[in-house]
């Protein structure tokens, strides 16, 4: 497939592996801190009532991200 997927495209219950993180600055470091690096498996767990943010299971912890940030995390 030619389409590039980001974490944002993940539907509830789906899993994927992180391909690369496009975010920069402090959010990039935050994401690295919580163990989100290339190859980390991420599962989309919950959508908030307004659809954004979305909570993901990352290395055993449940972390909510806004769509601006999840769209910067490419997956495969």
């Amino acid at each position: 497939m030619n389409n590039i997927y980001s974490l944002k495209d993940l539907r509830q219950g789906q899993k994927a592996k992180v391909k690369s993180i496009l975010s920069t600055g402090s959010i990039r470091r935050r994401l690295l801190d919580i163990g989100l690096i290339e190859g980390t498996e991420v599962e989309c767990l919950l959508k908030s009532p307004a659809g954004d943010p979305v909570a993901y299971l990352i290395r055993g912890a449940v972390i909510a991200l806004r769509s601006e940030d999840s769209s910067n995390i490419l997956i495969c």
Binding site: S23, T24, S26, I27, R28, R29, R30, L31, L32, D33, I34, G35, I37, E38, T40, L45, L46, K47, S48, P49, A50, G51, D52, P53, A55, L57, I58, R59, G60, A61, V62, I63, A64, L65, R66, E68, D69
Partner: protein
């Protein structure tokens, strides 16, 4: 930071971290860990202190210290804010890092969550890079067991080369073993850390090149491998703290500069530039953590979090999430209002019985009238009012709220509401600070430290006062009960007052959104920044302990405030009501002066004057109003809220007055403690003044509009 005796009120205005050694032999132990791993619980159990523990990341935002005796030594335990990493991003993480790296602790206890060990190891490994005097405390072993997660502590200890102790701090399991390891370790001389993270070859080469030169320069005990890596990965705040620690500017040293450039060349030759270095460092640490956990932590059940997910699906559901949130809020209010009725009456009866006895006593000893008036009718009566009207609702609300907090519900509130905060260009974590504000605005403002972006943090600070704190609840409840609920306190009436009170809170939330939006478009322009919000696992709170603890805390808190604030206020009011200039009392002069302006806002001079006198504490507003009316009219017995209503109505109160007073109570200047806290947190009088002005102006405008429109309809 949770809501406790020491986190609310004036004690919220804390001073910097100064370690107080009782004797020179005392050992200083840093207690570090990820946010929300039970650090405060371990700390409390070891020190016998009472740092609040809540189930959400970021509640400890200031460092606390306590003493722990083990064997023949005294250990000073320093509870530092939770942090995911030593590469600090926010003010609170900087505090943590600076203390671990430059606070010269004799040992570091790193507390980990047994149910989420791999991620916690990120921090453990980073600390191990710096010092070998580490005890790893794997906490919440009971929860791990429940979730069928098996942790092989010995194997981890072998891999890391430092003691690894399993604990269940809530039940005080394993703490003795923990202190034993700490005491052994803190006696040993500092050695190089037994564990070493392996970095990609170019990084290792660069470190190998730089380290010998650093070793020559740095005489003090500081790990040179760690320092070399940190110099390569230039971090401004760390370098500032380092220079302060060393007493000279290492990085401006010519030799170091030269070698640093060579080392950086080694990196760039290995195709590691700029951001890559940080990425590679973090990736190495994360992969090392993964490797350590891969054969030491066993998940026997893959869906070990199934129950939490089920609860989450209901509490954050599109249709049920927000209604449940409101229902919980209303439930708490209902319990507060109905529960407070009876004890309030009881306390009031008791205290006013004492007042009569005091009067008897003053008559018996033949004390002059003015002395009796000042002390009994002034000081004592206001005190009695504050305690009887204010204490019961506070003592009921607090424990209930704390239970929700311990359960882990508050981050879900932030999750549910984030979208709306984003629309106002603010941070979803602001919801957490607002929840804290419900307890005490000063605590809420300190809690704003969890917000990384300085702009969004200021928005949260300025708008925090739109959430009525616990000191304002009783005012709102009393007015609602008197003016909008029928005489008999039946079940329907209490439900009705709950709906009204919730309405007031929702209005406050609504105002927060509007004002946040206005601020983001004007003086605090900017776009919403990125953030991560952790939703911790649900935990069953220690119900009994929480209830007893927080009722006790609240009672002491309210009584102390009553003595410090209400008593002098009572004195002032009595004096003002009894000293006349011309043919009017001082009080009448003041309230007459304020009257025209207050009338425009739907209130009267006395009410506005009470709000002004209430600056030190919002609890005293209603008692001052009562005192002022009673002083200027005939003294009557106030046996219940209904007599009180009569008093207010006799002084010209209508439903417009009642609503205007409620609106103004919701929106006016923050109390003096909150102002001091804002000054401390923002380090700026300008932002303090703005935080003072914004809710005040909002209140004046809204009261003015409401009162004038409402008058058209009568």
């Amino acid at each position: 930071m949770g809501l406790t005796n020491s986190s609310t009120g004036i004690k919220a205005v804390d001073s910097g971290l100064v370690i107080k050694k009782l004797t020179p032999n005392d050992k200083v132990i840093a207690v570090a860990g990820n946010p929300n791993v039970g650090k405060s619980t371990v700390f409390n159990s070891l020190t016998g202190l009472n740092q609040h523990t809540g189930n959400w990341p970021g509640k400890t935002v200031t460092s606390a210290q306590g003493y722990c005796r083990y064997g023949d030594s005294t250990y000073i335990l320093v509870d530092i804010p939770g942090t995911y990493s030593l590469m600090a991003h926010s003010a609170e993480e900087e505090v943590a890092r600076n203390f671990i790296c430059f606070g010269d602790p004799d040992a570091v206890i790193v507390i980990c969550d047994a149910t989420c060990l791999e991620r916690n190891f990120n921090l453990v490994l980073q600390i191990l890079e710096f010092t070998g005097k580490v005890v790893v405390c794997v906490n919440m072993m009971d929860e791990a067991r429940k979730k069928n997660i098996r942790v092989d502590l010995d194997a981890i200890s072998k891999k890391l080369g430092v003691p690894v102790i399993g604990t269940t701090a809530r039940k005080k399991n394993g703490l003795k073993e923990l202190m034993q390891s700490v005491s052994q370790l803190s006696c040993q001389p500092e050695e190089n850390p037994p564990f070493r993270i392996k970095y990609p070859k170019p990084i290792e080469d660069a470190i190998a090149h730089l380290e010998p030169f650093i070793k020559q320069k740095v005489e003090k005990k500081i790990n040179t491998r760690w320092l070399s890596l940190k110099l390569l990965d230039y971090d401004e705040t760390l370098i500032t703290a380092l220079n302060e620690y060393l007493g000279y500017d290492l990085i401006s040293d010519e030799e170091i500069q030269k070698q640093l450039n060579i080392a950086k060349k080694i990196l760039s030759d290995g195709r590691i530039t700029g951001n890559d270095l940080r990425d590679k460092i973090v990736a190495s640490i994360v992969l090392t953590a993964e490797d350590i956990c891969s054969d030491t932590v066993h998940f026997n059940k893959s869906n070990y979090n199934a129950r939490d997910r089920k609860i989450d699906r209901i509490l954050t559901n599109k249709w049920t999430g927000i209604p449940i949130m409101l229902a919980l809020l209303m439930g708490i209010f209902w319990l507060t209002i109905t529960g407070a009725n009876y004890p309030s009456q009881l306390i009031s009866d008791g205290l006013f019985w004492v007042q009569d006895r005091l009067t008897d006593f003053f008559q018996y000893i033949g004390a002059p009238d003015w002395l009796h008036g000042m002390l009994v009718l002034g000081v004592y009566r206001v005190l009695a009012w504050v305690v009887s009207v204010m204490l019961p609702p506070m003592a009921i609300f607090f424990p209930l709220f704390t239970l929700l907090e311990d359960l882990g519900y508050l981050p879900r509130v932030a999750f549910n509401l984030d979208k709306y905060f984003k629309k106002c260009s603010a941070c979803g974590k602001q919801a957490l600070t607002m929840c804290m504000g419900l307890g005490c605005n000063a605590a809420g403002i300190i809690g704003c430290r969890i917000i990384d972006s300085p702009r969004e943090r200021l928005i949260a600070i300025i708008t925090n006062n739109f959430v009525p704190c616990n000191g304002r609840f009783p005012t709102l409840i009393a007015i609602i009960t008197m003016f909008f609920v029928g005489h008999a306190a039946g079940p329907f009436e209490s439900v009705f007052s709950v709906i009204l009170l919730t309405g007031v809170i929702v209005l406050g939330i609504f105002m927060t959104f509007i004002v946040s939006k206005i601020l983001s478009k004007t003086i605090l322009k900017g776009i919403p920044s990125s953030f991560t919000l952790e939703l911790p696992p649900y935990r069953i709170p220690q119900i009994g302990k929480v209830i007893v603890r927080s009722i006790f805390d609240r009672t002491i808190f309210v009584l102390a405030r009553a003595v410090v604030v209400a008593a002098p206020a009572g004195l002032i009011i009595w004096i003002m009501a009894n000293i006349s200039i011309g043919n009017m009392t001082l009080l009448a002069h003041c309230s007459n002066f304020l009257d025209p302006f207050a009338k425009m806002l739907g209130m009267d001079g006395v009410i506005l004057f009470a709000f002004i006198l209430g600056l030190p504490a919002n609890e005293i507003v209603i008692p001052i109003i009562i005192m002022a009316y009673m002083a200027s009219g005939s003294i009557m017995e106030l046996d219940s809220l209904w007599d009180l209503k009569q008093l207010l109505v006799n002084n010209g109160w209508t439903w417009i007055t009642a609503i205007s007073t409620m609106l103004f109570s919701l929106m006016h200047w923050p109390c003096s403690t909150t102002c001091l806290t804002i000054r401390k947190e923002t380090q700026s009088w300008k932002w303090t003044a703005i935080s003072f002005a914004v809710p005040t102006i909002a209140g004046i405008v809204i009261c003015f509009v409401f009162a004038n429109i409402a008058r058209l309809f009568i």
